[in-house]
Assembly symmetry: C2
């Protein structure tokens, strides 16, 4: 693929020739309305405005990153290799306190750029100033479920202001009437949100018919503290507060026991595996994937924020998920490549109610092309190569909702987005450091 | 960097401008004899034939991959997600039995291509038909220590033929008189090589003054079996056979206890961490890095072969090493980014007696340039970004021994190497499958 194109970001009928789909060289027709119109060895009946030769690249459903804090891109590499509490209290929180809306916008623009570059077309985000984040996502051309993150720490007054912030966010995002922007509701975790807060969030998410996104059982401490405070483990406590339901998305979910897994399955909860973050922050336990799969729990995959990863590359995340499951659970057959691709795409889209994650007629045209490079030759098994033998920078073309966002590695405006984000990041940390040393 | 160059593979004086070296924008002068001549903010006294603008890319010492089976590139993705023994006995061994010299050549050519693409200029390999491998390495322009892998399984006759094969390999490689090709000696492991074999290898390596490369304590079973057979753990048994010395390179070294670590330190052994392979094959324990560092053991890094990884990307390996150490040893400060870079480069070169791994005058000019991309912005800390926030495909330029092997992502002849390797791989597995079903 070397020709230039001039239809970036536009939904037009496109025919992709010579792509490897499910082990065969096939053609894919995007119908110009955001959907896949046909997948076949030869498509003759079409009205394509653009015909692309994929040059035997592997076509995969785009990735869906199910747990992120996108704006934290600005703090990538600002502090690493520290104990959790000093890291949060001396580096992350004092800096976050100085974030402005324009910082959030610049950070989310960079996050969207990185996701397009590495083959992700949807993400499930929890942070704040989500109107600025939504502006960035709208412009980028990808999809996001954006949730204001509520933390009340048991303070009734704080809870009221948090409710208002959350309601304002949901209202703003719904008013945009953009199919690519979904509002969500995010109580942070059992140890930062009161019973009243959790109950209100559960009811509010139900009333607004939006996903509820929460951190659950990330650390052993969280489980121990929850038992001490409420006499039960986090999933049971959340269930008592009405939080667990088919629209609940539970990030991390490392420290689950058999009863927790049963409860997730009964309530239809989606769990999000965050292997890199759990390893980097020394979480000391991996999500019990095989047991959860056997119980019928929908498991998806996420990178967490750039501060605890430090990238948003879902290809690297798939590989880490696949090898961490084998290592921690001592089973080289755990989380095979086909499952890794499914948790990274289909299962996430399903949880968000987005009809993507499969390359077949009728599904949304969220598709990526992974080119051949010295890391993924020979191709005995394209799925194995995608999971184990390459990374997000091997993605050549990213299509979201039928529109091409990256072609042959080129994303219009990328340089400017990187410059602006770097400027914002340096100014932010300079402001925070000046204030904190004053 | 967009201009074309016409000096691929040639040692000529080169001035690299505008590179980020140790946190500052500097210039690097390669003196045309394979060495770094100067590193400074401004270099005026030079006779460069080529002046490159690095465009603020990060310059790093090239990677040194200290445990590989390069020709196994041909079996990448052929079989994954299986239990170890069925994987070896039904997939890997029956296919390896059909390998020819031209397969080895094609596989090592692809391995060298992948390494150049991802910033590695030296590797420490253990396999067979090493003359064909050496042909591939010589052509590729990188460095390798190549060792014939001895397996006698206690059979005295086999031991004699293995000795002859090993001697022939060392003789052939020495006769090439190529500074980039080093011969080594590789007894496979304590469970596949007899006491006589181990003793002979130790003496032979000493007599020839070459490294000895061996798998040590990769699995718990290996340790248990060694104690049952010899009444001691693998390091003590190897020491009794004369194997442990400053020229011994011990791959894996997962299941070491405090006595094993003390012995490694006393004997000056280099240990090689192989985190991805250990995770993928469910090795269930991570090399005890912090204890080994505290004891003064030289620890290096390797990818293992493509069948158990499935790539040779040392950037991904650095990240996995850093996060696996944190996770397994439950310490978020373990193996920080600076250490990850050191084990991936300097410590490996040191073990092979190659004066590289540092960007400073007098060192060999084995240097890579990592360009800015959406994954490694902002740049608060180039080392953190290199380890945690990007991967080998972000490498733009690879220089070995003062010669440019990749420039702006372009490696002359790459397409043909990939085509030939894929052809060889498909023909090999077809031959093996036909023979094994006959």
């Amino acid at each position: 693929m070397t020709e230039d194109i001039d239809i970036y970001g536009q939904q037009v009928p496109i025919l992709i020739r010579n792509a490897r789909v499910n082990g065969k060289i096939q053609e894919i027709y995007l119908d110009g309305t955001g959907k896949i119109g046909a997948v076949a060895e030869k498509i003759t009946d079409h009205e394509a405005e653009l015909v692309l030769d994929a040059n035997r690249a592997t076509a995969l459903p785009a990735m869906c990153n199910m747990h992120t804090h996108a704006a934290m891109e600005l703090l990538r590499g600002y502090a690493d290799d520290m104990q959790l509490f000093p890291w949060l209290s001396t580096k992350i929180w004092p800096t976050e306190a100085h974030l402005t809306e324009s910082d959030i916008y610049a950070g989310v623009k960079l996050a969207c750029l990185e996701m397009i570059r590495t083959g992700t077309t949807a993400f499930n985000d929890m942070y704040f100033m989500m109107e600025a984040a939504a502006d960035a996502v709208e412009e980028s051309g990808i999809r996001a479920c954006l949730s204001y993150c509520m933390i009340d720490n048991g303070d009734a007054e704080k809870l009221e202001s948090e409710k208002r912030a959350m309601q304002a966010t949901v209202k703003n995002l719904k008013a945009r009437n953009n199919e690519r922007i979904l509002p969500g509701v995010s109580p942070h975790a059992v140890y930062t949100v009161s019973e009243e807060g959790l109950r209100w969030c559960a009811e509010y998410a139900k009333a607004e018919n939006v996903p509820l996104h929460i951190h659950v059982s990330e650390t052993e401490q969280e489980v121990t503290d929850c038992i001490a405070a409420h006499g039960m483990r986090p999933p049971a406590w959340l269930d008592k507060c009405g939080v667990l339901s088919p629209s609940c998305i539970a990030a991390h979910s490392c420290w689950l026991d058999a009863d927790d897994i049963r409860l997730y399955a009964e309530r239809g909860v989606t769990a999000v595996h965050n292997p890199v973050s759990n390893m980097k922050l020394a979480g000391n336990r991996a999500l019990p994937y095989s047991e959860m799969k056997a119980a019928g729990v929908n498991v998806a995959l996420g990178t967490d924020g750039a501060s605890s990863n430090n990238d948003l590359d879902m290809f690297a995340e798939m590989k880490t998920a696949a090898i961490l499951q084998k290592f921690f659970w001592n089973d080289p057959t755990a989380l095979p490549a086909t499952d890794a691709l499914q948790i990274a795409s289909r299962n996430g889209f399903k949880a968000l109610g987005i009809n993507a994650g499969v390359i077949a007629p009728g599904y949304l045209a969220d598709i990526i092309l992974v080119g051949r490079n010295p890391m993924n030759v020979p191709c005995f098994n394209a799925e194995s190569n995608a999971v184990y033998a390459t990374n997000g920078l091997a993605v050549e073309t990213t299509i979201c909702n039928g529109a091409i966002l990256m072609y042959d590695g080129v994303i219009p405006g990328a340089e400017e987005i990187m410059e602006e984000a770097e400027k914002a990041a340096f100014a932010l940390t300079a402001r925070a450091e000046a204030a904190n040393s004053a």
